[in-house]
């Protein structure tokens, strides 16, 4: 993700027309969170508040989106790093305000980016129950404990947009299966500690 060009910084100056610092703050947050496809509608909503025509609003929204995403992408955390992104002749107060807003939001934004990363379906919840089987068509009397495990799995957030699909999968484990599974999980834990201790 490249840094912003001169035209984009120019577009940012439209923020000088914003009614308040909070309005700027709000717009920064919306521009970061919005996916590229939703920037158009966002520009339409934001334009009137900034006394800006549609084209100007679109350029502003796009520039702000790129700026915030760039900072998050590069993992910039210091005020100096962010200030140095701006060109020499950029409006001082606006530059300071934007830097301040970005610093306030950077870790929340980073978490947001990580949460919406592509991944396999994610585990969101897990429940279990132990039953005792007392009878069946093959044996009339028995006392066999068995485990029922329910996993709630959420499909890739990026594919589902605002309506994540969560499916519940219930499965049965015999004691032997559980022992084998725990063996596997134990091996994972050991490897994780080995990696952590390197």
């Amino acid at each position: 993700m490249a840094a912003l060009g001169a035209a984009e910084f120019a577009a940012l100056q439209s923020l000088l027309k914003a009614p308040s610092k909070d309005a700027v703050r709000q717009l920064c947050q919306e521009c970061f969170s919005s996916p590229p496809a939703a920037l158009g509608p966002l520009a339409q909503r934001a334009g009137p508040g900034l006394a800006a025509g549609l084209e100007e609003a679109e350029q502003l929204v796009s520039a702000l989106h790129n700026l915030t995403r760039h900072v998050v992408y590069r993992g910039l955390t210091g005020a100096e790093d962010i200030l140095s992104l701006f060109p020499e002749n950029f409006h001082q107060n606006l530059k300071n305000l934007l830097t301040k807003i970005i610093l306030e939001n950077i870790s929340a934004w980073r978490n947001e980016a990580q949460a919406s990363q592509i991944s396999l379906p994610r585990l969101v919840d897990m429940d279990w129950r132990v039953d005792i089987k007392t009878s069946s068509d093959s044996i009339m009397r028995m006392a066999v404990p068995t485990c029922l495990l329910q996993l709630k799995i959420q499909e890739d957030a990026a594919l589902c947009g605002n309506n994540p699909v969560v499916s519940a999968l219930t499965m049965e484990l015999s004691k032997e299966t559980l022992d084998t599974m725990l063996e596997g999980l134990g091996r994972i834990r050991d490897q994780l500690s080995a990696v952590a201790n390197k």
């Binding site: 993700m1 995403r69 998050v72 992408y73 590069r74 993992g75 980073r110 980016a113 990580q114 919406s116 990363q117 592509i118 991944s119 396999l120 379906p121 994610r122 585990l123 897990m126 279990w128 132990v130 005792i132 089987k133 069946s136 093959s138 044996i139 009339m140 009397r141 028995m142 006392a143 066999v144 404990p145 068995t146 485990c147 029922l148 495990l149 996993l151 799995i153 999968l169 219930t170 499965m171 049965e172 484990l173 015999s174 004691k175 299966t177 559980l178 022992d179 084998t180 599974m181 725990l182 596997g184 999980l185 134990g186 994972i188 834990r189 490897q191 994780l192 990696v195």
Partner: protein
């Protein structure tokens, strides 16, 4: 015939005739036949092998295969019922005697029953209905180095592939867990193990 242990239903007419025929076998022949039967009971999938062994037995002992199969069908009624009802070897012996088998042969069969019943019980339990049985679990974990949104990430992910038996088909389920979720999952599974063990 008094009340039988292995079944509450009336026994087919042919059974007493079959028991009478069994009594005609020598002890050695009966022991060989019993061995074939128990081998089949402990490995019920080996039907071909069972039929071959029966056929060999028939040839070696100059018995016709047809009648032999009927005899075997009658004999098998008892162990199948005994398994369902967790009968002791005493009860099995008593049932065979009630059906007309000689004391000696009934005792022999009951003895073999005692020896084989742990295996047979385990098999029967294994055949009990399971819902979406977990068959296998594969895993991998790694580090996310970067993404289109974050140049440097360095977070650990864990991916599990669970193989579930749904009816007669196998289904693969892929799940990703974060590290805290993994530890929580491990902790819960250990609690399940403790619970299962306290009921065993």
């Amino acid at each position: 015939m008094g009340l039988l242990n292995f079944t509450r239903d009336p026994v087919p007419e042919a059974v007493s005739g079959d028991m009478h025929n069994l009594n005609q076998l020598s002890a050695q022949q009966f022991s060989a036949l019993t061995e074939v039967l128990f081998r089949f009971l402990t490995e019920p999938k080996e039907v071909e092998r069972f039929l071959t062994q029966l056929s060999d037995f028939a040839t070696m002992n100059k018995i016709s295969l047809g009648p032999l199969k009927n005899i075997v069908k009658s004999i098998l009624l008892v162990p199948n019922g005994a398994l369902k009802r967790n009968l002791s070897s005493e009860q099995v012996r008593a049932d065979f005697i009630a059906l007309g088998l000689s004391d000696e042969k009934a005792s022999y069969f009951a003895e073999q029953w005692k020896v084989n019943s742990p295996t047979l019980t385990r098999l029967a339990v294994g055949q009990t209905l399971m819902i979406n049985q977990l068959i296998d679990m594969e895993w991998k974990f790694g580090v996310t180095a970067g993404s289109s949104e974050l140049e440097k990430v360095g977070s650990i992910f864990l991916q599990l592939k669970l193989v579930i038996k749904k009816g007669s088909q196998l289904e693969n389920v892929y799940v990703e867990l974060t590290l805290p979720q993994f530890y929580s999952f491990l902790h819960e599974m250990e609690r399940v193990k403790t619970s299962l063990e306290s009921f065993s």
